[in-house]
Structure formats: C-alpha cells, structure tokens
Assembly symmetry: C2
Homo-oligomer: 129 residues x 2
C-alpha cells in the first residue's frame, strides 16, 4: 500500500522520518516528532496520527493517554523526501504542558520567554503521575 | 552569548538540531533543515537565517546562491528542546525547485501529487548547472 509514497520518503538509518504537525485551519505549527513506516501506515489506515517515540522506542497514537488526538487532514512531503508535514485537526492542545503548541518559548532580547499560556492543566490530561 | 538558549537546545550527537522555517505573515511551512550552534549564532548575529547542510557538511546562508534569503523574525524552541521554529520573512521562494514551499507534494487518494506551481525558474535562481 502506498509504495510510491514509501519510495519517495527518505527514512534515516534509524528508520525514522521527521514529521511536523500543523493545524490545518489556523496554520499553527503544533509539534515536531518522528514517524517510522508503521506509524505512517497506521495514520493513513485510521486517520488518527501516530508517531514513533525515540525515547520510549515505541509507536504511539497521539492523544492515546491525554485524549488530545490529531486527525489527519493531509500528508505532505518535502522536496528531498526527508520531512513530512501533517495538516491535522488538533483536539485540544498538542503539548504535554497543556499548551496549544510545543513551540511556546521564544527568544526575546536574548532571553527565552514563554509566549503562550497553559490552556489545560496537565494533571487533567494525564492524571497524577 | 545566549548561553541560556544553547543550554535549552538539545543538540543531537551530530551537533545538529532540526529547524522548521515558517513564513511569519502567511503561516506557510516553508522548509525543514538543520542548524548547528554556529548556524544559530550567525543567524542571531546577522538576522539572516543560516543552516548546516548534512550532505555538504557545511554551514550555508539561506539564499547565498539563489538570492532567496530568509530574514529571522523570531526564533522559537519546543518543549523538549530538540526542534526550532523559525518565523521568517522569506524573499521569493524557499524551495530549490522554484516553489514557495518545499512541501509541494501531497498524498491524494493514495498518490503523491504536486500541489503547488513553480514560481521562479530554478535556472534563474542558480544559473546553468
């Protein structure tokens, strides 16, 4: 299935390709993560975005513990095939800190500042840990 | 300079961090590339985005041969510090194919389709090669 796609993707030596999730409606860049072939296949088969966690070395469905899922609207590939852009319909917040986007720190006058607010208490997303 | 920033960035074992360039005005995701510490320092010092080319193993200033430069508007960092989001003012086109964004292929009904047009002839950007 989708052999042309998998030929066009240049997976790294670890079998992973970078994936950027962008909100299909607002254009916000929500997060950057990695996918392996299986994550892409499950994403396309279910319409729910799956990634591969390098730290846990495991496939995960975005939102499987937090409920903050991503529905795939469109999958795009860049010119050299080593990055995916996922246009998604984000339920709630993408970041585990409870912020809409993981890119919530910006360099301002030489200092890293937090530029967006927590929208959902992480304890509500993940329970007490 | 910016020691707090460089402490917060988690460079990979190759000394690189993923960087996503997004048009500051339209929100288009233009490209994904890599930066090393020197690329970030030069970007902050000059306001012109520099990357590190993995294939050429060299620092490059975006647009140095094509003229399609990127002026940095804001640098953002994600929650786990392993990806940068660069809000940029893109001169002309970001892709070496002459398209605005490198993400010009999308999966449609199981097939990769080209979804955007060439705006500038690559020969005009790079001369005859």
């Amino acid at each position: 299935m989708n052999e042309a796609l998998f030929k066009a993707i240049k997976f790294g030596p670890d079998g992973l390709v970078a994936a950027i999730a962008q909100a299909h409606d607002t254009g916000e860049v929500l997060m950057a993560a990695f996918m392996n072939r299986e994550a892409i296949e499950k994403t396309l088969a279910t319409g729910e975005v799956h990634y591969f966690s390098r730290s846990r070395h495991a496939l995960w469905r975005k939102g499987e513990s937090s409920g903050q899922t991503q529905r795939l609207i469109e999958l795009r590939l860049d010119c050299d095939g080593d990055a995916l852009l996922l246009l998604v319909d984000q339920t709630g917040v993408a970041c585990h800190t409870g912020r809409r986007s993981c890119f919530f720190r910006a360099l301002k006058d030489g200092e890293l500042k937090t530029i967006t607010n927590v929208l959902v208490d992480p304890e509500r997303l993940y329970g007490e840990r």
